[in-house]
Amino acid sequence: MSFESNTARLPSGELTYRVAGDGPPVLYFHAAGGARATAGLELLARSRCIYMPVIPGFDDTPLLESVSTMRDIARLGAEFIDGVIGEPADVMGQSFGGWAAPWLALDRPDAVGLMVLECPAGFRPEGHPPPSSDPELRLKQMFAYPARRPPETRSEATLVRNREMLHRYHGAETRDAALIDRLGEIEALTLILLGTKDGRMPRESVQLLKDRLTRAFLVYVYDAAHSIETDQPERFANLVEDFLERGETFLVNQAGVPAISATA
């Protein structure tokens, strides 16, 4: 399943986006690495139409003057749902993108169905140091299985610029106090994911989300680091697919999906 690249004209300006798959729409906010088609997303595209806007400034796309905060990115996402998808959509966000998604659910509850937050940024506990910028350590914290990464086709300059975009959108902040204060207002049923080997995101941040969101499930994905979609694509896709398909009833086991693998 390959992602196609398109362009949308939105009230805030022209926006590049990628799209793949068939089925109900999912708006996907990408991580700080840029808009990448991971193995997990490609599997998810079996049953969902995934729309992945390239957040302005990432992957060599132009900046949009009116989009300069995480909340602005959420507003841009709402424009995308209104203008391109044309109906309420489920919303996902990974890491950096998982910071924008709750703002969208908060500001435009009418546009959002279910929400999935993968190791979301923006909820770092007070006093926790920011994630390391050391390249070697960063790689280890990002991937339990670096060999599973898709081939990198972008230039080093593009990747550096992607990282610089973080400062444009949230400066040095790693904790969005205004959003945290309002998490209880979010109505969207939410699935929060964290890899058991995630070295970038402390588990206290997802515990905070689980505590504050009124309707949320927290699931740890075993043997995955920060990039769950890359480390454990099957587990990621099966879990998210089930949640998006069944909502809160995904708690109920279905025949053929044992809690303990068959040899136990």
């Binding site: 505590d211 927290l218 699931v219 454990q232």
Partner: protein, 373 residues
């Protein structure tokens, strides 16, 4: 030095259990079983009075080798009759059981005992996999994942799900949570490099329970220490438990004859069926991933053939008069530097009178002399 009392609770009213697997249970007389359970539980409770720091229970299946298919039931009975001793579960066989259930039952035991649980995570010996029809091939990855999940059950303040290779749960929030925080003390096997590596990762005490010589035990201890240091922490004596059979009497001859006789029954009668199952597992599976570990079995087999005199010479048993026992314990400590010792007194069909004799000698003579070792 701290001491743990282990007792496999064998069924001793058999004369020839044979080599079949599983061992036919028509030989089990329930009336005799009632008396045995009473005697064995009484012994475990008495261990606290004797001065044992921990009282051990362990899980084995489908054999007169041990009557504790669920050691948590035994532990629950002991907890109600003791006040201070640690309750060592050595342990639940993690890959055979629903890990949520283990987390729940261990948490219950910790709360019921006021925080006295030592939570053993064991992979089990090969025949257990035949008993429960679980593929031994997956035992290592299943063990690792289950251990992580159990600890998560104890430490996670919010309801959580688990999407794993072997286990999938959508919403977990166990009641009760354990008394000990962040979680109960852990104990794992130190019988192979793989086991030691896992134990070091969890900072668990390792059990060196079937040592064939001091050198190989020291290798496992050194490996654990190296791994801990690489992870940035320093293990202490409390992270190492050495196990030995124990028989004490007024004369060395009497102590030796007791141990020799009990061992003969243990190996010849109780151990037959489980060795058959073990042979099948070793032939047909990847239960032992490392060649070095696979080669342990000739070593253990050789130990079975080793005369008691030689085992005593090597320092691998606590056997003899009280003074000899004191010297043997001190020698082992000097060799290995461990802080915990697991003594197995009820070997095979060792008579109850001999079990009590050894326990009384430990209480009156040995423990007072080795506490500060």
């Amino acid at each position: 030095m701290k001491f743990s009392y282990t007792h496999h609770m064998p069924y001793t009213h058999v004369e020839e259990a044979g080599q079949d697997w599983p061992v036919p249970n028509k030989q089990f007389d329930p009336e005799k079983g009632v008396a045995l359970y009473r005697e064995y539980i009484d012994n475990k409770v008495f261990a606290e009075e004797v001065g044992f720091d921990w009282i051990g229970c362990n899980e084995h299946h489908m054999s007169p080798y041990g009557l504790m298919p669920n050691p948590n039931l035994t532990a629950a009975a002991i907890i109600e009759r003791t006040r201070t001793a640690g309750i060592l579960q050595s342990g639940n066989i993690v890959p055979l059981t629903n890990p949520i259930r283990i987390a729940e039952e261990y948490a219950m035991l910790d709360v019921q005992s006021g925080g006295r649980l030592i939570a053993g995570f064991m992979r089990g010996i090969p025949h257990e996999y035949v008993a429960y029809n679980v593929s031994p091939d997956d035992s290592y990855p299943r063990m690792r994942e289950a251990c992580e999940l159990i600890v998560k059950c104890w430490t996670e303040p919010e309801p959580f799900g688990w999407e794993g290779e072997h286990y999938r749960f959508r919403a977990v929030s166990i009641w009760p949570r354990p008394v000990q925080q962040p979680h109960p003390r852990l104990l794992m096997s130190g019988s192979s490099p793989d086991s030691v590596s896992l134990a070091a990762e969890f900072r668990a005490t390792i059990g060196l329970l079937r040592i064939t010589d001091f050198e190989s035990a020291r290798e496992m201890k050194d490996l654990y220490t190296d791994l801990a240091r690489k992870d940035g922490w320093e293990p202490g004596p409390e992270h190492f438990m050495v196990g030995m059979p124990c028989s004490i009497a007024d004369t060395v001859e009497e102590a030796m004859e007791t141990l020799r006789s009990g061992t003969r029954f243990f190996l010849g009668v109780l151990g037959g069926g489980i060795r058959t199952a073990q042979r099948l597992v070793l032939q047909k599976t990847r239960y032992y991933r490392e060649e070095a570990h696979r080669q342990r079995f000739p070593g253990l087999a050789a130990r079975r053939e080793t005369p008691l005199e030689e085992l005593m010479e090597k320092g691998l048993v606590v056997c003899g008069t009280p003074d000899m026992a004191i010297a043997q314990i001190k020698r082992a400590k000097a060799e290995l530097g461990h802080g915990l010792m697991n003594l197995n007194i009820k070997i095979g069909n060792t008579p109850q009178s001999a079990v009590l004799r050894t326990m009384q000698a430990l209480r009156d003579h040995v423990f007072p002399a080795v506490r500060e070792v």
